[in-house]
Amino acid sequence: MIDLLGYGAFFLSTALVFAIITLGLNLQWGLTGLFNVGIAGFVAIGAYTSAILTTPDAPDRIGGFGWPILAGWLAALALAAAAAAFTGFATLRLKSDYLAITTFGVAVVVQLAALNAVGLTGGPFGVAFIPRPFAGLQSDPLAFNLVNLCVIAAVTLACYLALERLSRSPWGRVLRALREDERAAISLGKSARSYRIQAFAVGGAVMGLAGAVQAHFIGFIAPDNYIPTLTFQVWAMLMVGGSGSNRGAVMGAVVVWAVWIGAGWATSALVPGDWQARAASLQIVAIGVMLCLILLWRPQGFFGPRRGRGME
């Protein structure tokens, strides 16, 4: 029973980290219509920034800055925002596809740097000994998991409230106006490019924060955590939840993560050992097909407002 509770806390913590990333994507895509296929890259930037700044000295890479965790999180937020702002700056005066292609490139390059810039990122072995909040409680796993769940839930709630406020603010209304009718918005004197760069940067900042929160929750990061599958999962979460709705983003993240974990359990229980890697790829095929089916038949998602993007 206690085990189950501890596992439940762990599961929910992971799901809520995904929820934070999905909230960031919802600002970029759901509210502003900016397509980001490099989510894993921005999450990784946040995770590595905070990890490098807060970990104790390590012999084979730069480190030993020993910043407090909160300062690491803020730095993660700032650097991910800067990376997203630069991506937006380079591409948002062009057609929307260029942003998609460039974000894809960002993810490739971040992955490459994580693997090869050993002096900065620790290379394939990643960064270990990332300080965890309330580390003093680690001897009691249940309490530790529950406290961490509270921390992550608080961050999620803060992001949710902030993004809700932003989307109802005049700033959010401009974003929506740009998405609905760009010419009308421009004729009212709003600079489409500048607003879009801002939205993309804020969304990227939220993703970077999520990466940092997760790094400190697990205590260890490696390049393998930030493969394209992550980007893909987050997209599935937003599409299931319903793009445009922050509540839908959170719900979608928890539901898709539950399905993902459930499918993982099922394959490990039912599929013989040497077929498990293949069964895992079938899991991704299923999510890909599901994403396409949602785009075709239910573009508004399942938890969002009745009126979604595709229904307009």
């Binding site: 929307s96 998609a100 894809f104 893909f232 069964a279 095929v285 890909g288």
Partner: protein
């Protein structure tokens, strides 16, 4: 310093260029960047692998002279081109055409991203992630001067690339269908008014793009190896080539593919092999910041 890297760059550039033709045509005619294009390439390579296996069981490998492959692989390549074109048409019918009809271009891009994930992992499910080869035959590289060595396979595939690209160029500039495709890419509304059958243009675009992707896939498979991820790894270089060449320009895509292939080879030579995958991104960013229309592109209206 050995000049071998120039040849290596030329060869990987030819692969990138062949793939980028499909990307640039899809972008200029169907108006979306197809993230599944690399996976069409991988599907083509595996289709040829299955076909060459089946043919090999019937007639043996029958290598031609010094080449590692023979008529079975040539036949298998033609099969793979047809198969991949069929796969692309099926995907368009099931997914892309329906979403295109709704008029939100970026939704089609997203669907191609979902399709790419599904296609790639389906390959991993069917063939596992370990690499496969068309032939285990060893090739001896022959010196051709200036310290450069080349294998017979490389010569054959470079010749194939030249033939395909020339044929493609002649088709687009000389044939009626090619003219229709260019007309539609320049002005869809006007093309429709003049009575061009749009669905025929769309079909031709998919068939050409997918068939060339399959040919590029077989080329990668013959000269490097066949893996489910082979298409994903080439996706960024192909996008970069399509943009550097100027969207819609077939010669541009090929020239840009060669530029990217040579730059990658130079990076391997002078910086380190591990940074190779970053070269395409650097070039992409430079083009977007300095000259977003690319080398041979025209300004978008």
């Amino acid at each position: 310093m050995s000049l071998q890297f120039l040849l290596d760059g030329l060869i990987s550039g030819a692969m990138i260029g062949l793939g980028a033709i499909g990307v640039t045509l899809t972008y200029s005619i169907l108006r979306f960047s197809n993230f599944a294009h690399g996976d069409l390439m991988a599907w083509g390579a595996y289709a040829a692998l299955v076909a060459v296996g089946a043919l090999g069981a019937l007639v043996g490998t029958m290598p031609l002279g010094p080449l590692s492959f023979g008529l079975p692989l040539i036949a298998a390549t033609l099969f793979a081109m047809v198969f991949t074109a069929g796969l692309a048409l099926l995907l368009d019918w099931l997914l892309f055409a329906r979403l295109r009809a709704r008029g939100q271009a970026i939704i089609v891009v997203m669907a191609s991203f979902g399709a790419s994930m599904a296609l790639r992992n389906l390959l991993e499910f069917l063939f596992s992630s370990s690499p496969a080869y068309y032939s285990r035959a060893l090739q001896i590289a022959q010196p051709v001067g200036l310290g450069i060595r080349i294998t017979p396979d490389q010569v054959a595939l470079l010749v194939m690339t030249v033939l395909l690209v020339t044929g493609m160029h002649l088709f687009l500039t000389r044939s009626q269908r090619g003219r229709e495709m260019r007309a539609y890419s320049q002005n869809p509304a006007l093309a429709r008014v003049t009575g061009i059958d749009v669905s025929r243009v769309v079909r031709a675009t998919w068939i050409i793009g997918a068939a060339l992707a399959a040919a590029a896939g077989v080329m990668v498979g013959t000269l490097v190896q066949i893996r489910p991820l082979m298409g994903l790894d080439l996706l960024l270089p192909m996008f970069a080539a399509a943009i550097l060449g100027g969207i819609g320009s077939v010669p541009g895509a090929v020239v840009a593919g060669l530029i990217i292939g040579l730059s990658e080879a130079a990076a391997v030579m002078f910086i380190g092999a591990e940074w190779r995958a970053g070269v395409a991104f650097v070039i992409l960013m430079a083009v977007l910041l300095v000259r977003p229309t690319g080398l041979f592109g025209v300004t978008e209206r």
